[in-house]
């Protein structure tokens, strides 16, 4: 039985080799169809994967409220406004109210500002994040060495700092940073108590990745630097109590209503000014997933069309083959071939073309994303199920489009077929 199958496949290959160019062109039709399907899906997956990961990193059970610089009005853009203090954003008091309204949630407040961090001759201008102990849990980070900010640090307003991995490497390329001190700004010396694990996440809304930040207790931040800080990029004084309130809810089913509550609460004070913004990573995630499904569907349709074109090519060639080999069909029928044998023979031929095309197409389809990653630095993601699907469809295309020609071959009158020149 297996020997017979092998024989039929070998026979199919032999017959295809009678017309090498024609067979390879037809095979190429399927090949490029399969390759493009796999490559397209890989690029699509890759693009959305990065975004999806970014939203997951933000925490699917979190609701994030950020202070946002209000859009400049006409009056405030004149020169004198340089000397005015721009006040906006979230308040400590609002964080307390969020906590009261959402007792199940863990509320984390943070204040961010740009400062130089100096150790000896090493220097980095980076984002200083004043925050509190639960920040670590809510952002799902881990300490690599030393410790994180504690409640005691908060109470005592200690000058302690935890460095992001990249920042630590930049300031302490050779030494162990734990126990050493750095100068933040010009006069405040902080002791390094911990270094975080490398995260490799996308940049936060403030434009800096977590790996580059320096974390200090929120209380120390307020005490040493205050709420009114000059923004070095705009050169303006800004009064901001809090940049962000993160609320971690017990589960994803909570976030929608929690976001609604927070939105309602903030509306009176910030609704008109538009200086706060609520982000629900879970919603973004779902939206992206929906978009991705849609994208996949569109790709699948395009894929089907390209494979359909390949299938038509196969049908065309098989019809020509059947006509050319009418006599062979007559001979085989005379020698005892049943209709099913003839069907089998031509189906296998069509199947061999489409399967070979599919196989090489898979190979090419795996290479193309590698090239795209290398030369366009665009992330790609090849999913096994997509490869299997593309290959399966290609093999199926051969059978489906080979069916009619094979049926025609099998139903020829043997006498007529033998008389065919």
């Amino acid at each position: 039985m297996i020997g017979d199958t092998m024989r039929i496949v070998r026979l199919g290959l032999k017959s295809l080799l009678l017309h090498k160019l024609r067979s390879s062109l037809t095979t190429a039709g399927i090949l490029f169809g399969v390759a493009s399907v796999i490559a397209m899906l890989a690029v699509g997956e890759g693009a959305s994967k990065e975004t999806l990961q970014q939203y997951r990193d933000m925490g699917v059970t979190n609701v994030l409220v950020r202070s946002k610089k209000p859009e400049e009005t006409q009056q405030s853009t004149n020169a004198s406004s340089m000397w005015n203090v721009l006040g906006y954003g979230l308040l400590y008091q609002e964080a307390d109210r969020v906590q009261n309204l959402l007792p199940q949630g863990i509320v984390v407040r943070s204040r961010e500002f740009q400062r130089g961090v100096v150790h000896g001759e090493h220097w980095a201008s980076t984002m200083i994040v004043g925050t509190e102990p639960p920040f670590l849990e809510v952002t799902n980070m881990k300490v690599r060495e030393g410790r994180w900010i504690t409640e005691l640090d908060m109470q005592r307003q200690t000058n302690c700092v935890v460095l992001g991995e990249s920042l630590a490497r930049q300031l302490f390329p050779l030494e162990d940073p734990i126990g050493q001190t750095v100068l933040i700004g010009v006069e405040d010396r902080f002791e390094i108590v911990g270094v975080l694990e490398y995260q490799g996440r996308a940049a936060s809304p403030n434009g800096t990745t977590l790996d580059e930040c320096a974390f200090i207790p929120l209380t120390s931040s307020r005490r040493r630097f205050g709420d009114t800080i000059r923004n070095p990029s705009t050169n303006r004084w800004e009064n901001i109590e809090l940049h962000e309130i993160k609320v971690k809810m017990p589960g994803p089913e909570w976030v929608e209503s929690a976001a609604g509550v927070v939105d309602l609460m903030l509306k009176p004070a910030h609704g008109a000014k538009k200086d706060t913004e609520i982000t629900v990573p879970l919603e973004l995630l779902r939206k992206e997933e929906r978009a991705e499904r849609m994208f996949s569907l569109v790709l699948a349709v395009i894929a089907s069309i390209s494979l359909l074109v390949g299938g038509i090519g196969i049908m065309n060639v098989m019809l020509a083959t059947v006509t050319e080999r009418t006599r062979e069909i007559g001979i085989r029928r005379a020698l005892g071939a049943k209709k099913k044998h003839i069907v089998q023979q031509f189906l296998v031929e069509a199947g061999v073309m489409s399967t070979l095309g599919g196989l090489v197409g898979v190979g090419l389809g795996l290479l193309v994303p590698l090239g795209i990653e290398k030369y366009f630095e665009q992330p790609t993601e090849v999913k096994t199920q997509h490869v299997l699907m593309a290959f399966g469809i290609s093999a199926l295309v051969g059978v489906v489009f080979g069916l009619y020609p094979a049926w025609r071959a099998a139903n020829m009158d043997p006498v007529e077929a033998l008389r065919h020149e």
């Binding site: 017959s15 007559g330 029928r333 020698l335 043997p414 006498v415």
Partner: protein, 266 residues
């Protein structure tokens, strides 16, 4: 290896005509039989071509029969029915005890594959296959390809003098050699009879003689042979000649009666 029964061949064809000469029966078994076979082609409303118009005849084991007649007399039509490629419009064609007209397509294919060995005028080897693969085709459709079929192919190729050409493609062989391969292929399934349509029509006279000598050898081994030919020289090598005229049997001639030395009859 090839179970060809060594039955002494003798006259054994019976035709249902009034001619008492041709009704002489023998005790050799009937392997194929026409009973009032008609084959009509309906071309139009009032235009029916009666290619066979009431033919009755029998082929007995060991016969060497030539079918002759003018062009259009129905020879090929008769051969197609004999070979199970076509069915009678009315009448019965029995082969191996079964009425072929009543078989479905698959069963008919099996009859062709098991009981009949076809030899064609234009050899009809499959060009992309080697000699060995061509020889194995009939057995392949019986699901009988294996070491045995290979040995048998080798045996028959040796027998037709092409034992060293098994791996050649048909294109690399001469016409006579191709026809020898075709004869070997026709023998692969140990058929009830060989059926040849103008088997030497495409060959020169020397090659023709070689092929006819091969037929003589085969029938000495008891192979039953039915040939269609235009060529009297070919027909006279057979024991019997069946003459067709306008789709009917005109006469059956025993060639050994004319030249007793040629046949093997007592």
């Amino acid at each position: 290896m090839v179970p060809v029964a060594v039955v002494p061949a003798a006259a054994g064809l019976t035709v249902a005509t009034e001619d008492p000469r041709v009704t002489a029966a023998t005790d050799r078994p009937i392997i194929a039989e026409f009973v009032d076979v008609h084959r009509h082609y309906v071309m139009g409303k009032d235009n029916v071509v009666r290619a066979l118009n009431g033919v009755s005849m029998q082929v007995r084991k060991g016969d060497y029969l030539a079918i002759m007649g003018r062009s259009g007399s129905g020879k090929s039509t008769m051969l197609n029915i004999l070979g199970g490629l076509d069915r009678p419009t009315t009448g019965e064609y029995r082969v191996g005890g079964r009425d072929v007209g009543k078989l479905d397509d698959d069963a008919l294919s099996d009859v062709r594959g098991r009981e009949i060995g076809f030899i064609f005028q234009s050899f009809n080897l499959i060009p992309q296959l080697t000699v060995l693969e061509n020889l194995e085709v009939p057995l392949f459709y019986q699901g009988r390809v294996g070491p045995e079929s290979r040995a048998k192919a080798q045996y028959l190729a040796d027998r037709v003098g092409l034992g060293k050409r098994l791996e050649h493609k048909p294109m690399e062989l001469s016409g006579g050699q191709q026809q020898r391969v075709a004869i070997a292929r026709a023998l692969m399934n140990d058929p009830l009879f060989l059926l040849a349509d103008e088997a030497t029509g495409n060959l020169d006279s020397n090659t023709e003689r070689e092929i006819l000598d091969l037929f003589d050898d085969l029938r000495k081994d008891g192979v039953t042979i039915v040939i269609v030919t235009h060529n009297p020289k070919v027909a006279e090598r057979a024991d019997l000649t069946l003459w067709l005229k306008d789709g009917q049997v005109e006469k059956l001639v025993d060639n050994r009666a004319a030249a007793p030395a040629a046949g093997g009859a007592p």
